[in-house]
């Protein structure tokens, strides 16, 4: 094909050169010549006509001469002669013009030769251009080819990339599966560990049993010795926490009585469930025991200079912690009902105080700080600047503190870490009035001023359930809500004097108890789950049960 | 080779045979070789009437032929009424059409060529109607392919078709050249004696 086009191009070039040489230079020339020739012939024709006219006029003049119009005819003749002269002049002019035309043709011929030379020069230029063109075309072809090659390589790389990506996805899938397997294995491992622990516990129990049996034997032997026994000391030493199998929802007021001379701010069962304490605006803490349908006073703890806002038993029920509006917290021993510690340092009323460990206490105050106290050194060991008034707080595992604040936030603190920053915050819709931990320490019950209870799942750090009810109004900034010991129920008092009990799993009101005539401030569920005690802004405390 | 056409070799042998017969009956055909090709040539004299021809021509031609074949020039009609013409016929092979072609010239006494329109008007009456519409595609002046000189030519483009028809209709083998010449010859004053037909 290449040679084909070569000779075709050669032929075309030859033909074009032929035409440029043979015809194009002459087109104009010949056209001009033909035109001039036409003009010349028409002039010639005219000339002949004029000659004829002259002859005719001459004849006329002669004839008129003969006729005798001498003078006139002479004049006419003269005129005619002049005319003739003019015409002859014209004729000469024409001839001159023709000469000029001929000269023009010669000039044009010279011009033509010049043009021909120019054309030859152009021809050589064109042929060199054509050559350049050919080489450029070839190089273009080569470049195109290389582009195509590169494109092919690119495509190949893309394909490889895709294949690798697929392999990567597959590996990722495998990795995910392996992780699942891993977590499964860890779980199984944990279960195994738990079993081991159970077995260990059983062994311990056996060991203790054996020791008790031996002790019993010893006691029997000792009894044989008839030693007099002081019965009063038994309950104090033999501390056994109450165990709740299933909480029952109280249905009626078992016992209603005036506990304080004024508002009752706080009630709290001890861990055994045998006593409960109440604190009021009358600056007193009273201990009560329910017995045969009547609540009997078992003593009064005094020493506070203002109303008691919060109560907490130590883990072994030996100590009672009360927070007070007089900016201080105090600790009494239950057995001898004596004031043991007064923890002062806050610059606002203390709204809540809790045991952190046996030897440490944490208190939250209206002065927007939390303080940790050491009971051995009887001093504040840490001040946490929370940034907002603390309405309630709870403790976890002896180190973590959760505090509920006026600015609608719940803050989480780790006492081992730096004091100033919370490790976590949760923002709710209303300001916090109380916090309560469920017995498994996984759920946190919060009471807020927007008249609802929120249950926060601590493992998820988010609200898992919201409890509300028609008519439920949170009466004051320190209204307290509690879980039942089995976490099935939550109870809280309303500003209208009703006590609301919700079923947590269904998130519905289970029961509304009506007995109080004033806003219910606080309540406390007996650790065994059988009864509930609540207090109001009047003087009354009510003990509820379903029997 | 299409029907009705012949190859160069066939033409050569046909011409040779034809001339052989011509020699026997003294028909004046002879062979000429030019530019390495062979063709067949015949020259003859004939007298024709210049005016008042239309009806008489064919008869006149026949009588001319007789005169010619007898070589009896003295029997010519009155010179004032007629003129003597020299006819020169060439039968040449045409490779393009693969057929024989008849070229001829008619000369007047003074050696000039008879003009084409006179040749046309000399044609027999029954050809005239055909000529009227097709004279420019039937009989024209052409360059002789072997001599390069102007000759009148009977166009060869229908020869093959015509001969194909003749060959397909005749039961026995025919003399191709004689058959063709006897068909086209009379149009231009050439007569072919029947001797060529029988003595194949």
């Amino acid at each position: 094909m290449a040679t084909d086009t070569n000779w075709k191009r050669d032929l075309l070039n030859q033909i074009q050169r032929r035409n440029r040489k043979q015809s194009y230079p002459f087109i104009h020339l010949i056209q001009t010549n033909n035109k001039l020739q036409e003009i010349a012939s028409s002039l010639h024709l005219k000339n002949v006509q004029l000659q004829v006219e002259i002859e005719r006029l001459k004849e006329e003049s002669i004839s008129s001469h003969v006729r005798g119009d001498g003078v006139v005819s002479i004049a006419t003749t003269h005129q005619l002669e002049q005319k003739l002269f003019k015409l002859q002049e014209e004729l000469t002019e024409m001839h001159k013009k023709r000469g000029e035309n001929a000269q023009q043709i010669i000039d044009l011929n010279a011009l033509l030769q010049e043009k021909e030379k120019e054309i030859q020069h152009k021809d050589t230029m064109i042929s060199s251009m054509v050559e350049t063109n050919v080489t450029l075309k070839q190089s273009k072809k080569a470049l195109e080819f290389s582009i195509a090659e590169l494109e092919a390589t690119n495509q190949m790389l893309k394909d490889e990339h895709q294949a690798l990506q697929m392999a990567f996805t597959a590996l990722e899938e495998r990795y995910r599966k392996t992780q699942e397997d891993n977590s499964d294995l860890i779980q199984r491992w944990m279960e195994q560990k738990a079993k081991d622990a159970d077995r260990m516990n059983a062994e311990n129990a056996d060991f203790i049993k054996a020791r008790q049996q031996r002790l019993a034997k010893d006691l029997e032997e000792a009894a044989k010795e008839q030693v007099p026994v002081d019965l009063d000391k038994g309950p104090v030493d033999g501390y056994i926490p109450a165990v709740c199998v299933m909480a029952s929802v109280p249905s009626r007021a078992q016992c209603v009585f005036d506990a304080h001379e004024g508002e009752v701010y706080s009630v709290q069962w001890n861990a055994m469930g045998s006593f409960f304490a109440s604190g009021g605006a009358d600056r007193k803490i009273k201990l009560w025991e329910y017995h045969n349908g009547v609540c009997e006073s078992r003593g009064t703890l005094v020493g506070s200079n203002a109303g008691i806002t919060s109560l907490d038993y130590s883990q072994d029920d030996s100590m009672l912690l009360g927070a007070s509006n007089d900016f201080a917290s105090r600790i009494w021993t239950v057995v001898d009902q004596r004031l043991r510690h007064t923890l002062t340092g806050h610059s606002g009323k203390v709204l809540s105080a809790k045991f952190l460990t046996e030897g440490k206490v944490v208190s939250g105050s209206h002065d927007r700080t939390l303080k940790i106290w050491d009971l051995v050194s009887k001093s504040c060991v840490k001040t946490i600047f929370a940034g907002s008034s603390c309405n309630d707080l709870v403790t976890l595992y002896g180190a973590s503190i959760i505090s509920g604040h006026f600015d609608k936030r719940i803050r989480f603190w780790d006492t081992r870490g730096p004091a100033d920053s919370s490790i976590n915050e949760i923002l709710l819709q209303g300001r916090l009035t109380s916090l309560a931990l469920a017995s498994d320490k996984n759920q946190l019950l919060c009471c807020t001023r927007d008249d609802c209870l929120k249950i926060i799942d601590l493992r998820m750090n988010q609200v898992s359930c919201t409890l509300t009810a028609d008519g439920f109004k949170v009466g004051c900034d320190w209204s307290r809500a509690v879980f039942s010991p089995d976490r099935e129920y939550a109870a809280a008092g309303s500003g209208d004097g009703h006590l609301f009990v919700w079923n947590v799993s269904k998130a519905k009101v289970e029961k509304i108890l009506k007995e109080h005539s004033h806003a219910v401030v606080a309540c406390s569920w007996n650790p065994s789950g059988v009864s509930l005690v609540s207090c109001e802004k009047g003087k009354k405390v009510v003990l509820w049960s379903d029997f | 080779m299409a029907a009705g056409s012949i190859s160069r070799d066939e033409f050569q042998s046909l011409v040779k045979k034809f001339v052989d017969i011509s020699n026997k009956i003294d028909d004046k055909w002879h062979l000429v070789t030019a530019s390495s090709s062979t063709y067949m040539l015949k020259k003859m004299l004939a007298t024709t009437v210049c005016c008042n021809r239309l009806e008489n021509i064919s008869n006149q031609m026949v009588s001319d032929m007789e005169i010619e074949s007898l070589e009896d020039v003295s029997c010519m009609p009155d010179v004032s009424e007629s003129k003597t013409l020299t006819y020169e016929y060439h039968v040449v092979y045409n490779e393009s059409y693969a057929v024989p072609v008849l070229y001829f010239n008619i000369f007047t006494n003074d050696g000039r060529l008879l003009p084409l329109d006179e040749v046309w008007s000399q044609c027999p009456t029954h050809y005239q109607t055909h000529l009227k519409d097709n004279k420019w595609s039937t009989l024209t002046q052409q360059e002789h392919p072997l001599l390069g000189r102007p000759f009148l030519q009977l166009h060869p483009c229908h020869t093959a078709d015509f001969m194909a028809q003749v060959i397909s209709k005749s039961s026995q083998k025919i003399n191709y050249l004689a058959c063709w010449l006897s068909t086209v010859g009379p149009m231009v004053g050439l007569n072919i004696p029947s001797d060529y037909m029988c003595k194949d």
């Binding site: 040679t3 086009t5 000779w7 075709k8 191009r9 050669d10 032929l11 075309l12 030859q14 033909i15 074009q16 032929r18 035409n19 040489k21 043979q22 015809s23 002459f26 087109i27 020339l29 010949i30 010549n33 033909n34 020739q37 010349a40 | 299409a2 530019s35 490779e95 393009s96 059409y97 000039r112 060529l113 003009p115 084409l116 329109d117 420019w136 595609s137 024209t140 002046q141 052409q142 360059e143 392919p145 072997l146 001599l147 390069g148 000189r149 102007p150 166009h155 483009c157």
Partner: protein, 273 residues
Amino acid sequence: MADDREILRELWDGKIPVSFQLAQEEIYTVEQPDPFFLLVPRLTYFPLVTDKVYRHMVKHVDPDHGEMWLEFDNQPLKWHYPIGVLYDLYGYQSELPWTLTVHFKNFPEDELLHCPSKEAVESHFMSVVKEADALKHRGQAINNMQKKDHKALWTGLMNDKFDQFWSVNKKLMENSGEDAFKSVPFRIYQMDQIPVQKLFKPVDDNGENLTLKNLLSIALPDLEEKGILSRYRVVTQGIEPPLDVPVGWMSEHLSYPDNFLHICLVSRGHSES
């Protein structure tokens, strides 16, 4: 194919400037007639373009004149050859314009055909086209055409209408499949010699395209021994095609309107002197 069409177009546009001069001995008037200039297409015939020349010259000759004829360098020009052939054969590389002598007397009867009218030219042209088609297609293509196609072919040439001419001529140039050329119509001219015309198939028995060189060696058997290629230029359409051009293609594209390839052998010595 655009190239091919461009070649056809350029060929069609080929023209030669001609200066017509009345033969001195035939001037009848006192006044010398001016030479007459024309730019004549290569592909046409002289009788189609010389009407004006006739009108211009006839004023200056004996009123009792004969048919007009042309002569170059003592060589009467045959009107039935395309003008391009005449120029390539006799005037190749002579000075332009090509100077021809116009005669009205002594018509060379034994050399030139009479041209009584344009009909004679048409008849001659059509008979050559017919012969060419007889060679190429056994006459099939031309016989399948209608009368008006024949007329269009002729008027296309006469009026210099390229598109009209080729709309018909392309059927005659059909060279594929069943319509492939049986033979290539060509004539080879040399000065003072009878033109050579022979049967020539454009493709050999193996289906290979035969070239111009093959054509020359078959048409002129004494090509080698006479050393023709060294002494003569091979000219057609005013150009010298390479000898390896396939003849089939040449026939399709370099033929004159009469469908013949007219190839002239022009003496090198002659042109150089």
